[in-house]
Symmetry: C2
Subunit: 121 residues, 2 copies
Protein backbone atom coordinates (compact mmCIF):
# COMPACT_ATOMS: atom_id res chain seq x y z
CA UNK A 1 0.00 0.00 0.00
CA UNK A 2 1.39 3.35 -1.06
CA UNK A 3 -0.36 6.28 0.55
CA UNK A 4 2.43 8.81 0.25
CA UNK A 5 1.22 12.17 -0.94
CA UNK A 6 2.40 13.49 -4.30
CA UNK A 7 3.38 17.14 -4.66
CA UNK A 8 2.95 18.22 -8.28
CA UNK A 9 5.52 21.06 -8.23
CA UNK A 10 8.13 18.78 -6.68
CA UNK A 11 7.59 16.12 -9.33
CA UNK A 12 7.69 18.70 -12.13
CA UNK A 13 11.08 19.91 -10.85
CA UNK A 14 12.56 16.48 -11.57
CA UNK A 15 12.50 16.73 -15.35
CA UNK A 16 12.69 19.33 -18.09
CA UNK A 17 12.29 17.56 -21.42
CA UNK A 18 9.16 17.91 -23.54
CA UNK A 19 6.62 15.35 -24.74
CA UNK A 20 7.98 12.71 -22.37
CA UNK A 21 5.33 11.82 -19.76
CA UNK A 22 6.33 10.57 -16.32
CA UNK A 23 4.13 8.29 -14.24
CA UNK A 24 3.31 9.72 -10.79
CA UNK A 25 0.41 7.52 -9.74
CA UNK A 26 -1.64 4.45 -10.58
CA UNK A 27 -5.19 3.45 -9.62
CA UNK A 28 -7.96 1.33 -11.08
CA UNK A 29 -5.94 0.48 -14.18
CA UNK A 30 -5.29 4.15 -14.87
CA UNK A 31 -2.09 6.15 -14.75
CA UNK A 32 -1.61 9.67 -13.48
CA UNK A 33 1.17 11.27 -15.51
CA UNK A 34 2.94 14.60 -15.64
CA UNK A 35 4.27 15.96 -18.90
CA UNK A 36 5.69 19.20 -20.26
CA UNK A 37 4.65 20.35 -23.71
CA UNK A 38 6.37 22.85 -25.95
CA UNK A 39 5.84 23.16 -29.68
CA UNK A 40 3.62 21.00 -31.85
CA UNK A 41 2.89 17.35 -31.20
CA UNK A 42 1.74 14.89 -33.89
CA UNK A 43 -1.84 14.27 -34.96
CA UNK A 44 -3.01 11.01 -33.46
CA UNK A 45 -5.89 9.18 -31.81
CA UNK A 46 -6.30 6.39 -29.29
CA UNK A 47 -8.64 3.61 -30.39
CA UNK A 48 -9.38 2.30 -26.91
CA UNK A 49 -8.57 5.04 -24.42
CA UNK A 50 -10.16 8.31 -23.38
CA UNK A 51 -7.58 10.86 -22.20
CA UNK A 52 -7.84 13.69 -19.68
CA UNK A 53 -5.48 16.70 -19.93
CA UNK A 54 -5.39 18.98 -16.87
CA UNK A 55 -3.29 22.14 -17.11
CA UNK A 56 -1.12 22.66 -14.02
CA UNK A 57 0.48 25.87 -15.24
CA UNK A 58 0.85 27.64 -18.56
CA UNK A 59 -1.55 27.11 -21.44
CA UNK A 60 -1.84 25.16 -24.67
CA UNK A 61 -4.19 24.61 -27.56
CA UNK A 62 -5.83 21.27 -28.19
CA UNK A 63 -6.43 21.01 -31.90
CA UNK A 64 -9.20 18.84 -33.27
CA UNK A 65 -9.97 18.38 -36.96
CA UNK A 66 -12.96 20.71 -36.66
CA UNK A 67 -12.04 23.13 -33.86
CA UNK A 68 -9.38 24.23 -31.39
CA UNK A 69 -9.69 24.62 -27.62
CA UNK A 70 -7.43 26.90 -25.56
CA UNK A 71 -6.71 25.39 -22.16
CA UNK A 72 -5.37 27.42 -19.26
CA UNK A 73 -4.25 26.58 -15.72
CA UNK A 74 -6.83 24.64 -13.71
CA UNK A 75 -8.81 23.69 -16.77
CA UNK A 76 -9.11 20.22 -18.24
CA UNK A 77 -10.41 18.52 -21.35
CA UNK A 78 -11.36 14.92 -22.01
CA UNK A 79 -10.48 13.60 -25.45
CA UNK A 80 -12.70 10.59 -26.21
CA UNK A 81 -11.24 7.46 -27.81
CA UNK A 82 -11.17 7.57 -31.58
CA UNK A 83 -10.99 11.36 -31.81
CA UNK A 84 -7.96 12.79 -33.62
CA UNK A 85 -6.17 15.51 -31.69
CA UNK A 86 -2.91 17.40 -31.50
CA UNK A 87 -1.64 19.47 -28.55
CA UNK A 88 0.22 22.65 -29.48
CA UNK A 89 2.00 24.86 -26.94
CA UNK A 90 3.57 28.17 -27.92
CA UNK A 91 5.30 28.31 -24.55
CA UNK A 92 6.09 25.53 -22.12
CA UNK A 93 3.08 24.15 -20.29
CA UNK A 94 2.85 21.54 -17.53
CA UNK A 95 0.02 19.06 -17.85
CA UNK A 96 -1.36 16.23 -15.71
CA UNK A 97 -2.81 13.28 -17.60
CA UNK A 98 -5.33 10.65 -16.45
CA UNK A 99 -5.59 7.72 -18.80
CA UNK A 100 -5.53 3.91 -18.92
CA UNK A 101 -2.17 2.25 -18.28
CA UNK A 102 -2.33 0.91 -21.85
CA UNK A 103 -2.16 4.41 -23.39
CA UNK A 104 0.69 5.12 -25.79
CA UNK A 105 1.47 8.85 -26.05
CA UNK A 106 1.34 9.00 -29.83
CA UNK A 107 -1.61 6.60 -30.17
CA UNK A 108 -1.90 5.27 -33.70
CA UNK A 109 0.98 7.41 -35.03
CA UNK A 110 4.25 5.81 -33.99
CA UNK A 111 7.32 7.90 -34.64
CA UNK A 112 10.19 9.73 -33.07
CA UNK A 113 7.98 11.26 -30.38
CA UNK A 114 6.69 7.86 -29.26
CA UNK A 115 7.64 6.95 -25.68
CA UNK A 116 7.13 3.25 -25.02
CA UNK A 117 8.65 2.92 -21.55
CA UNK A 118 7.70 5.71 -19.21
CA UNK A 119 9.70 6.53 -16.12
CA UNK A 120 8.03 6.45 -12.72
CA UNK A 121 9.05 9.39 -10.58
CA UNK B 1 -18.49 13.44 -28.27
CA UNK B 2 -18.02 16.07 -25.59
CA UNK B 3 -14.77 17.95 -25.88
CA UNK B 4 -15.77 21.10 -24.04
CA UNK B 5 -13.15 22.28 -21.62
CA UNK B 6 -13.90 22.29 -17.89
CA UNK B 7 -12.83 25.22 -15.74
CA UNK B 8 -12.41 24.09 -12.14
CA UNK B 9 -13.04 27.49 -10.49
CA UNK B 10 -16.21 28.00 -12.52
CA UNK B 11 -17.56 24.59 -11.53
CA UNK B 12 -16.67 25.19 -7.86
CA UNK B 13 -18.64 28.44 -7.92
CA UNK B 14 -21.82 26.47 -8.68
CA UNK B 15 -22.20 24.88 -5.25
CA UNK B 16 -21.35 25.56 -1.63
CA UNK B 17 -22.45 22.55 0.41
CA UNK B 18 -19.97 20.15 1.96
CA UNK B 19 -19.39 16.42 1.46
CA UNK B 20 -21.60 16.37 -1.64
CA UNK B 21 -19.50 15.53 -4.71
CA UNK B 22 -20.50 16.76 -8.16
CA UNK B 23 -19.57 14.94 -11.35
CA UNK B 24 -17.62 17.09 -13.81
CA UNK B 25 -16.23 14.46 -16.18
CA UNK B 26 -16.28 10.81 -17.15
CA UNK B 27 -13.73 8.67 -18.96
CA UNK B 28 -12.76 5.01 -19.08
CA UNK B 29 -15.35 4.05 -16.47
CA UNK B 30 -14.03 6.69 -14.06
CA UNK B 31 -15.62 9.86 -12.78
CA UNK B 32 -13.93 13.19 -12.19
CA UNK B 33 -15.70 14.88 -9.28
CA UNK B 34 -15.41 18.10 -7.36
CA UNK B 35 -16.27 18.30 -3.69
CA UNK B 36 -15.91 20.72 -0.79
CA UNK B 37 -14.94 19.36 2.60
CA UNK B 38 -15.35 21.03 5.96
CA UNK B 39 -15.27 19.24 9.28
CA UNK B 40 -14.89 15.52 9.86
CA UNK B 41 -16.15 12.84 7.49
CA UNK B 42 -16.89 9.25 8.55
CA UNK B 43 -14.40 6.41 8.68
CA UNK B 44 -14.94 4.15 5.68
CA UNK B 45 -13.29 2.08 2.97
CA UNK B 46 -14.08 1.04 -0.58
CA UNK B 47 -13.77 -2.68 -1.23
CA UNK B 48 -13.35 -2.38 -5.00
CA UNK B 49 -12.20 1.13 -5.78
CA UNK B 50 -8.99 3.09 -5.40
CA UNK B 51 -9.60 6.81 -4.90
CA UNK B 52 -7.52 9.83 -5.82
CA UNK B 53 -7.90 13.10 -3.87
CA UNK B 54 -6.32 16.19 -5.47
CA UNK B 55 -6.41 19.44 -3.49
CA UNK B 56 -7.49 22.39 -5.65
CA UNK B 57 -7.29 24.95 -2.86
CA UNK B 58 -7.13 24.86 0.91
CA UNK B 59 -5.84 21.88 2.84
CA UNK B 60 -7.10 18.85 4.71
CA UNK B 61 -5.86 15.88 6.64
CA UNK B 62 -6.36 12.34 5.40
CA UNK B 63 -6.53 10.13 8.45
CA UNK B 64 -5.58 6.49 8.25
CA UNK B 65 -5.71 4.04 11.13
CA UNK B 66 -1.93 4.22 11.53
CA UNK B 67 -1.00 7.73 10.33
CA UNK B 68 -2.27 11.05 9.06
CA UNK B 69 -1.27 12.91 5.89
CA UNK B 70 -1.65 16.68 5.49
CA UNK B 71 -2.56 17.57 1.91
CA UNK B 72 -2.17 21.07 0.52
CA UNK B 73 -3.04 22.70 -2.81
CA UNK B 74 -1.64 20.88 -5.83
CA UNK B 75 -0.94 17.73 -3.88
CA UNK B 76 -2.75 14.44 -4.23
CA UNK B 77 -3.04 11.12 -2.50
CA UNK B 78 -4.26 7.75 -3.73
CA UNK B 79 -6.18 5.69 -1.19
CA UNK B 80 -6.06 2.04 -2.25
CA UNK B 81 -9.17 -0.12 -2.09
CA UNK B 82 -9.72 -1.76 1.28
CA UNK B 83 -7.88 0.90 3.26
CA UNK B 84 -9.89 2.71 5.93
CA UNK B 85 -9.65 6.46 5.76
CA UNK B 86 -11.33 9.64 6.94
CA UNK B 87 -10.87 13.15 5.49
CA UNK B 88 -10.84 15.96 8.06
CA UNK B 89 -10.78 19.66 7.11
CA UNK B 90 -10.45 22.37 9.73
CA UNK B 91 -11.35 24.97 7.09
CA UNK B 92 -13.13 24.54 3.80
CA UNK B 93 -11.10 22.80 1.13
CA UNK B 94 -11.91 22.11 -2.52
CA UNK B 95 -10.92 18.68 -3.80
CA UNK B 96 -10.98 16.95 -7.17
CA UNK B 97 -11.66 13.21 -7.06
CA UNK B 98 -10.79 10.63 -9.65
CA UNK B 99 -12.41 7.24 -9.06
CA UNK B 100 -14.53 4.52 -10.68
CA UNK B 101 -18.13 5.43 -11.52
CA UNK B 102 -19.23 2.75 -9.03
CA UNK B 103 -17.72 4.60 -6.05
CA UNK B 104 -20.06 5.53 -3.19
CA UNK B 105 -18.75 8.45 -1.15
CA UNK B 106 -19.12 6.74 2.23
CA UNK B 107 -18.00 3.32 0.96
CA UNK B 108 -18.98 0.59 3.42
CA UNK B 109 -20.42 3.03 5.98
CA UNK B 110 -23.84 4.14 4.80
CA UNK B 111 -25.40 6.96 6.78
CA UNK B 112 -26.56 10.53 6.68
CA UNK B 113 -23.50 11.66 4.71
CA UNK B 114 -24.09 9.09 1.97
CA UNK B 115 -24.86 10.59 -1.44
CA UNK B 116 -26.34 8.02 -3.81
CA UNK B 117 -27.26 10.18 -6.80
CA UNK B 118 -24.65 12.73 -7.67
CA UNK B 119 -25.42 15.81 -9.71
CA UNK B 120 -23.57 16.43 -12.97
CA UNK B 121 -22.54 20.04 -13.34
Amino acid sequence: MNTEKINIAEKLSLFSDHWNPRIVGELNGQHVKLVKFKGEFVWHKHDNEDELFYVVNGEFIMEFRDKTVLLKANEFIIVPRGVEHRPVAENEVSVMLFEPTSTLNTGNTKGELTREQLEKI
